[in-house]
Symmetry: C2
Subunit: 465 residues, 2 copies
């Protein structure tokens, strides 16, 4: 329905607008590194520590945004004036920030990749000040899109081939989330979105129907239907539940006949309340009896993977779903325990030992093993240089010396990649309730290094022997 | 810590950047209204249909953003070119959009108001096309800030006077949410935020400490502490849990003594993992024994109102809390059932009858009754012209003919207003678990009109008698 013109709403590149969209501690730590002349290479690893209830996989998304941010990261004069006004920072450090650019490298999973807990989604290697500074934005951007893509993938799975459209914009957590939810749900297999700006920015198909207020603004429901069908004869979806679904369906049938007389066809009717399975069967029967088998039934109203599955299991005759709030905020799991941790500094693998939170040290690679039918069988997290013969390495270099390595996949490429990947994940790992835990092992090299570093940390810092 | 320079990151006003941040159906309905020449006044009411579990009040927030959007709403050439490219809209309608501005009026609760389910947060009256078009953004903007302010107020209540700081930016749902969470939590009584851009945009106090990676980048924890305390001698908070809280506390005590020798004082230590109540008591004792009674204990890591209350109930010796993810996404209730419904069109009160979702018709006012001690006793939702003698009307005119009515309160004013309001809400309505339901009645006038309209709708549309 629409061509993409990415980035057109924003006059400045992402990193220049958002350099201050960070936690103050990133800047105070940076001032310390600057003061100490600490510029050795640090590697940070981004990963999710655990699965929310009933989740067994994640879908990587948000990489393109993180890379754009890194490539264009810079502080404006206005930013620096604000930092100076806080009284926290000295002029030499502010001068340093003025010319700061990200100069490091990034290895990452392509968007649309399936991955599992503890596996690195991306690893950033750069002078420690630069790599640290990017923490807040990278967690936020990759975290949100990965959260939504992972939720949306479950809805797509539940719908068993029926098209889904994102209707969540009004209740997403803010406008940025509204855009990213449209993008991430498309990546995970949604057909499109109601979000016009997302359509423009990302080149997504956009869809819309009508609101109850539209119906109410006419004296009679059928008048509202008639007007809409005349203004949009090629794409009419009629909302039939404003007063009563069945009476609304009869009005829609009447209008469908009037449209046919003018050489047009009613595309669909939309249900938005009540017992969707029962109502959809009744409406389907009315439409079929009226010779309107081609009119499709769209349902909206509180759908996510659970309600989609329930409605279809109750023999709902629904052709497509508008999926809104619960997907758009990932209502059952509104955040992931995602972290960006220092794993190597100045050639030295590092970790923290805080209770219950362990980080895998060093630069890493994920290797994936497939069975003879091409289905995913297990992953191994290894050191980046380590060889795991026969298995597929998943992390790829995507940025070098601060520049994105071309070509990067289009959103459509990433969507296709996800679908191909998801088809290779065996069913037991996909089920919506208590999925089987996908096996992820540590390589011998990583296990050994991890043990060595833990021992050394305990001895060195805690005086244990 | 910092002066406000609101709006400086964005080169264009909100409404001009975000005119397309809407659902497609707003534009298809607008095209129908345009086609039919329907320009009569419509009134839409924004309200929340029900309480999430354990919630008994809401805190109004986000009004300033909604008003800025309305005052500056306009479509750019670029927006119109995109809409044309979809093939959905005809040139006369696109020409109309080109000159469209919002010309209506808004009545609203001031930001920081306490309100309850079914009560209008705001009512928009304008030609139906304009009032409808604004639906998506208004729900999104007011919905998010109200969601967060309502959650943050509970954390403030649980902390019993201890200062709270917003640390949620990395896991908010996107960058816009990151900014709005900082603003809304400040409005609800937080002391400030870690979010530097929010500090700049909204003039909030900003706070920061250090990350585990900072500690790990030095060979010894105490070296990291020493460097930080030398670079920021006036505002040093040391994170002590990277290896072990108690060993970390001993290092912090050592550094505090070194700071004292240089004429400075350690401000605080930060706990981030483990059994916070127990650890804080141990750390408090160590600090006190070292003569460092003035060093405060800040705790972070998974705090929201529930964990704050639990930790204090277990005699945790914590002076302030950094509140992150669970507040920043309102984890227990990540969305409200918030709706923007047509309640009057062309002089005619309207509603929809869909199962389980009833709208209060007409232009309304909320009246609040206080007892002799000045405590809130009950609310009455009335028709806007109706008199409820002795009670305080809450909705105020805030926009007329598309222009914001000055003066609007500053964020600090709204914060003060919330605190004054909250002090007047009796304790049983504030408790964190199963609060008492605040009484909200409908006025005689509203009850009568509602019944009349429902009867008329049923007769007119459904043929019931």
């Amino acid at each position: 329905m629409a061509g993409a013109q990415p980035g057109k709403i924003m006059e400045r590149p992402l990193g220049e607008r958002l350099a201050l969209l960070t936690d103050l501690y990133q800047l105070t730590m940076a001032a310390c590194y600057f003061d100490q002349g600490m510029a050795d290479e640090a590697t940070f690893s981004l990963f999710i520590r655990q699965y929310p209830a009933h989740r067994g996989y994640f879908v990587a998304a948000g990489l393109a945004e993180a890379l754009e941010y890194l490539e264009t990261l810079s502080f404006t004069e206005d930013d620096l004036a604000y930092l100076e006004s806080t009284g926290l920072f000295k002029p030499p450090f502010l001068d340093y920030l003025k010319q700061l650019r990200f100069t490091g490298e990034v290895h990452a999973l392509p968007e649309g990749s399936l991955f599992f807990k503890d596996e690195p989604i991306l690893e950033v290697s750069a002078p420690i000040l630069e790599a640290q500074l990017a923490e807040t934005f990278i967690i936020n951007a990759v975290g949100l899109q990965t959260l939504i893509a992972s939720k949306a993938a479950r809805s797509v799975y539940a719908a068993q081939g029926r098209p889904l459209v994102d209707f969540s914009l009004r209740r997403t957590q803010g406008s940025d989330a509204g855009l990213k939810v449209a993008r991430a749900s498309y990546l995970a297999g949604f057909l499109g979105t109601s979000n016009v700006l997302a359509g423009k920015l990302y080149g997504l198909p956009i869809f819309g129907t009508m609101a109850h207020s539209f119906i109410s603004s006419f004296a009679q429901e059928i008048e509202a239907f008639r007007v809409f069908s005349r203004v949009f004869p090629g794409s009419t979806t009629l909302l039939i539940d404003t007063y009563d679904n069945i009476a609304g369906a009869r009005n829609a049938i009447q209008v469908a006949r009037e449209m046919e007389a003018r050489g047009h066809r009613l595309q669909s009717v939309r249900l938005d309340s009540g017992d969707m399975a029962a109502i959809s069967r009744e409406v389907r029967q009315l439409l079929d009896e009226a010779g309107l088998a081609s009119v499709r039934i769209l349902a909206s109203g509180g759908f996510d993977e659970a309600k989609i599955a329930r409605t279809l299991a109750a023999w709902g005759r629904i052709d497509s779903f508008a999926v809104g709030t619960r997907m758009g905020v990932s209502a059952d799991a509104p955040y992931f325990d995602i972290a960006y941790k220092l794993v190597k500094y100045d050639g030295r693998p590092v970790l923290k030992l805080s209770t219950g939170k362990v980080t895998l040290v060093g630069k890493k690679q994920i290797f994936r093993h497939y069975d003879e039918q091409g289905k995913m069988q297990r992953d191994v997290i290894a050191l980046r240089g380590e060889a795991v013969p026969g298995d597929e390495p998943l992390l790829r270099p995507v940025m070098r010396q601060g520049r994105i390595i071309p070509p990067q996949p289009s959103l459509k490429d990433s969507r296709d990649y996800f679908q191909a990947q998801f088809a290779r994940l065996p069913e037991p790992y996909k089920t919506l309730i208590e999925p089987r835990l996908y096996p992820v092992a540590l390589s011998p090299g990583l296990r050994q290094l991890q043990a060595e570093v833990e021992d050394k940390m305990r001895q060195g810092e805690l005086g244990e022997s």
